[in-house]
């Protein structure tokens, strides 16, 4: 089954149709999606700038990460769920769209960077002697911020491609 056939099948399902026919539902879900990405961006900004050694350098990186990581995971879950509703409603806008798949790839990268460079800091057993890890932290933090920005741009461009 090709992506196109799957698209057409999904588009015709009663669930997809009823989401589309409830006029306010899509903009409402998109609003929640934007609010959630704002939580991610705010958390990423503070955490990444701390890991990059720019902001709040007199606070321990683990303190900063511990405060924001739970918010980030929750917001990412909300993004996933609201994102699924949008795909269900308009599969043709996303599943056959290069910008959408680029965005998904970027989300996976940002997720991996977050998992790899933040989560270890929550472990009290994780010691500062991982020198290679610490050396990689700074570029990883800047990359993470850049990737989140790119994700937001892709998100808006999905509507135009």
């Amino acid at each position: 089954m090709s992506v196109q056939t799957f698209d057409d099948w999904l588009y015709a399902t009663p669930l997809s149709t009823s989401i589309r026919e409830t006029g306010w539902l899509i903009p409402a879900v998109q609003s929640i999606h934007i609010l959630a990405i704002a939580i991610v961006i705010g958390s990423a900004l503070v955490s990444d700038l701390r890991l990059a050694g720019v902001l709040a350098t007199d606070e321990a990186p683990s303190t900063v990460v511990r405060r924001y990581l739970p918010w980030m995971w929750s917001a990412l879950l909300v993004l996933l769920l609201t994102g699924i509703v949008m795909i269900l409603a308009e599969p043709g806008r996303t599943l056959t769209n290069t910008v959408f798949w680029t965005k998904m790839l970027l989300v996976l990268s940002a997720f991996t960077l977050t998992l790899f460079f933040r989560k270890p800091l929550l472990d009290p057993q994780f010691r500062a002697d991982h020198r290679g890890w610490w050396r990689a932290t700074k570029p990883a933090a800047w990359s993470s911020l850049a990737v989140w920005v790119a994700i937001i741009f892709c998100g808006r461009w999905i509507a135009y491609t």
């Binding site: 998109q30 990405i37 704002a38 961006i41 705010g42 503070v46 924001y68 937001i152 135009y160």
Partner: protein, 166 residues
């Protein structure tokens, strides 16, 4: 009405017609606008939640505000510039859009709420900087700010939807 003439003039400016004529201009400006508002809301949420008593990366609220405010203002400035460009590209239509009018009013209300906080509870912040629970007036300001900015974002999304299905 005098204002309608003004909006019509804005609509006819060279910048506005350049945005209308270049198919990529609107989405690019809109993307920057979305990035800016996520930064505005994302940084304000951190301060608002701390005002409600949720821990942030600073123990005290005073230093947290000092950390976050430069980002909030810079992002807000970018949101205003990009928002103005989007507005003039179709000034008369936006000006007459009910969701847009409400959005402007709610931004104004959020600004007044912030000003009140800075002129009242924030003046005596040294007395309660690290205290949790925070004073009632701070909790009220935080909750109001959170609610108003959420409404701003929702209205913003509906502005786009009432004019075109994007």
């Amino acid at each position: 009405m005098v204002l309608d003439t003004l909006f019509q003039r804005l609509h006819e400016t060279q910048v506005a017609s350049a945005i209308r004529e270049n198919a990529n201009a609107f989405p690019w400006i809109e993307s920057i606008h979305v990035l800016a508002i996520t930064l505005v809301f994302g940084t304000i949420v951190i301060v608002d939640l701390r005002m409600l008593g949720y821990a942030a990366h600073r123990r005290g609220l005073r230093r947290l505000i000092l950390d976050m405010l430069p980002f909030t203002w810079a992002a807000f400035a970018i949101a205003v510039v990009t928002g103005s460009l989007l507005f003039i590209s179709n000034a008369v239509t936006y000006a007459n859009n009910v969701q847009f009018q409400w959005k402007m009013l709610v931004i104004l209300a959020a600004g007044i709420n912030m000003a009140i906080f800075h002129m009242t509870a924030h003046r005596r912040i040294a007395d309660w900087d690290e205290a949790v629970p925070t004073p009632l007036s701070a909790r009220l300001s935080g909750a109001t700010s959170l609610a108003l900015w959420m409404v701003v974002i929702v209205l913003g999304r509906f502005v786009g939807f009432t004019l075109a299905p994007f």
